[in-house]
């Protein structure tokens, strides 16, 4: 069992957990959290498959880095929307 397989299992485990939570939960904050966990799982899968005899490929690393930055932007936007929805519900 190579170390890549271990991390591939971890990554797909995260994807499965996030999918389960997304399908069963209504709370906005928890949904955002699950989407983040989903993205992290995909990131691990990507990089685990990019490993080739000890050296990791530079291009997928750039992809995942871009993905992380994009994800934080979308998360911030989602949370801003959620806060405003909540505030309007108060008024």
């Amino acid at each position: 069992m190579t170390s890549e397989l271990i991390y591939i299992c971890a990554g797909s485990g995260l994807v499965g957990l996030a999918f389960y939570r997304l399908a069963t939960c209504r709370d906005m904050l928890l949904r955002v959290l699950s989407l983040n966990v989903l993205a992290v799982g995909i990131a691990i899968l990507f990089l685990a498959s990019a490993r080739d005899a000890g050296m990791t490929d530079a291009v997928p690393q750039a992809f995942v880095l871009t993905g992380i930055v994009v994800l934080v932007a979308v998360t911030a936007a989602l949370l801003a929307l959620a806060e405003q929805i909540d505030r309007q519900r108060d008024e």
């Binding site: 955002v32 929307l81 929805i85």
Partner: protein, 483 residues
């Protein structure tokens, strides 16, 4: 500075400018949109003369670098976006983004938000159409997802914000599916450029990757059954935002599905069949939703679901480029005609709602109000959407049905005809109530006053009509493929 790079960078720079100076954002918006439209025309003429063009960014060719490709299909999409964009932008400028019934103190901050969002949408869509790399397409979709949500959330009402949140969550889920597909594609063949899609379609791992990619795109294109976020989003946005969302933003995802299908070759048959089935289901489901809708905007949004189904059906049955059957050109033409007609419809609906004060379909025939230009624009746009001659919608459907008959695919033909009949049914709900005369109208009925909204809506609707007569031009453009 070539036109290809300016097509993306000019709108983005103008977006920065509009964001910095909110008071003059309208000027940034209008000039940038007009300039982008000119660039798109220039590029199209260039492609007509000299064939498809490539730019290898930074001098590195694929697969290491990113390649921008401008062939006939891309040029057509660029023209569509800029053309519809210019007219909708004029509309937005005149309305101040909102119909005049809105409080003026909000109007300025709304204007300040609209223009950067629209310009970023334009830049992102252009980047999408020109891109030749799957990961690049993913990043462009991220921009597009955020700008579309921004356009939805502009009006600030509770339903708009809720719809925007659902839209963004669905968009993120779609993007993650797309990213997962790109990761699997990398795992299968080690590269992610579009030219490698035929290689993907040849292996099992590659086909799974393509399935994930198309699934992510289907979420973004609001294809049934992944369309749940769409009707609310498009109907609670302001009319200008709805026009942009329905007419342009969904086309981005449909374009990429079409592009992948064309490149994919024979290995994608199962995927294409699935697309065709979902498209047919979407046509029927959207029509059902439109028949039951009580509000005008919701009806138009459901009709978008149905039309997206039709376009996806066309992509699914078209097969790949090698079969030389030209059906994928029908899909492209249907995209174009739908963009024109749907933008016209949403602007017309905005005007109708402005005059009446509400947009309930049951309350459309008020005795004191004669039908005005907006109602006529709606009717002409309906003609194109249903697909009656001589509109572009008719030409697209004709090519599609003709090709299907030639292949003895009677079930698909029957489904398309049922879809057409249903669209005639739900659109006539509106048109029959709007356009009335004779004994139904009171003696002292008056015409609503003319506004720019009427002119823009009529302009868009008429171009959908006229495009059918001039359809040789877009079809000729589509012939220019990148090889």
């Amino acid at each position: 500075m070539s036109d290809i790079s300016l097509l993306v960078l000019l709108p983005l720079l103008a977006a920065v400018g509009a964001a910095t100076t909110p008071r003059t954002s309208g000027i940034w918006g209008l000039t940038a949109t007009a300039l982008t439209a000119t660039l798109a025309v220039w590029l199209t003429l260039d492609v007509f003369q000299d064939g498809a063009r490539y730019i290898a960014i930074s001098g590195w060719v694929a697969p290491l670098g990113i390649v921008l490709v401008a062939d006939g299909l891309a040029a057509l999409m660029l023209l569509m976006t800029s053309g519809v964009g210019v007219i909708v932008a004029i509309q937005a400028a005149s309305w101040g983004v909102f119909p005049s019934s809105c409080a003026s103190k909000d109007a300025e901050s709304l204007r300040a938000g609209f223009w950067p969002m629209w310009l970023a949408t334009l830049g992102a869509m252009n980047a999408l159409f020109l891109s030749g790399d799957l990961f690049n397409i993913y990043v462009a979709f991220e921009i597009l997802g955020l700008t579309a949500v921004g356009l939805t959330a502009l009006s600030g009402t509770r339903s708009a914000l809720r719809a925007a949140f659902d839209y963004l969550s669905a968009g993120l889920a779609g993007s993650l599916l797309l990213l997962l597909g790109v990761a699997l594609a990398y795992g299968a063949i080690g590269r992610v450029d579009l030219a490698a899609v035929p290689m993907l379609a040849d292996t099992i791992a590659g086909r799974i990757a393509l399935a994930f990619i198309v699934a992510g795109l289907a979420v973004k294109a609001a294809l049934f059954p992944l369309h749940f976020w769409m009707p609310e989003a498009h109907s609670s946005a302001t009319p200008v935002a709805s026009a942009l969302l329905s007419a342009l933003v969904v086309k981005g995802a449909l374009y990429v599905i079409l592009r992948i299908s064309i490149e994919g070759g024979a290995g994608m048959e199962a995927l294409r069949f699935a697309l065709a089935v979902m498209g047919a289901a979407a046509m029927l489901w959207g029509a059902w939703g439109a028949l039951r809708a009580t509000r005008l905007k919701l009806l138009v949004a459901q009709s978008t679901v149905a039309q997206i189904g039709l376009i996806t059906l066309a992509i699914g049955v078209a097969g790949d480029n090698l079969q030389q059957n030209g059906l994928w050109q029908a899909a492209a033409l249907l995209m174009l005609s739908h963009a024109l007609a749907k933008a016209a419809m949403f602007i017309a609906v905005g005007r109708i709602a402005e005059e009446l004060g509400h947009d309930r379909i049951s309350g459309l025939n008020r005795k004191e109000l004669r039908p005005g230009a907006a109602e006529f624009a709606f009717a002409i746009a309906s003609v194109s959407l249903i697909g009656l001659p001589p509109t572009a919608g008719f030409i697209g459907k004709w090519i599609l049905i003709d090709g299907l008959i030639a292949r003895d695919a009677w079930i698909w033909v029957a489904l398309i005809l049922i879809g057409t009949a249903l669209s005639a049914a739900y659109l006539s709900r509106v048109v029959s109530r709007c356009l009335r005369g004779g004994p139904h109208v009171a003696a002292n009925a008056h015409h609503p006053a003319w506004r720019i909204g009427d002119i823009t809506a009529l302009g868009l609707a008429t171009s959908a009509l006229v495009l059918g007569l001039a359809s040789a031009l877009p079809l000729g453009l589509l012939e220019i493929t990148a090889k």
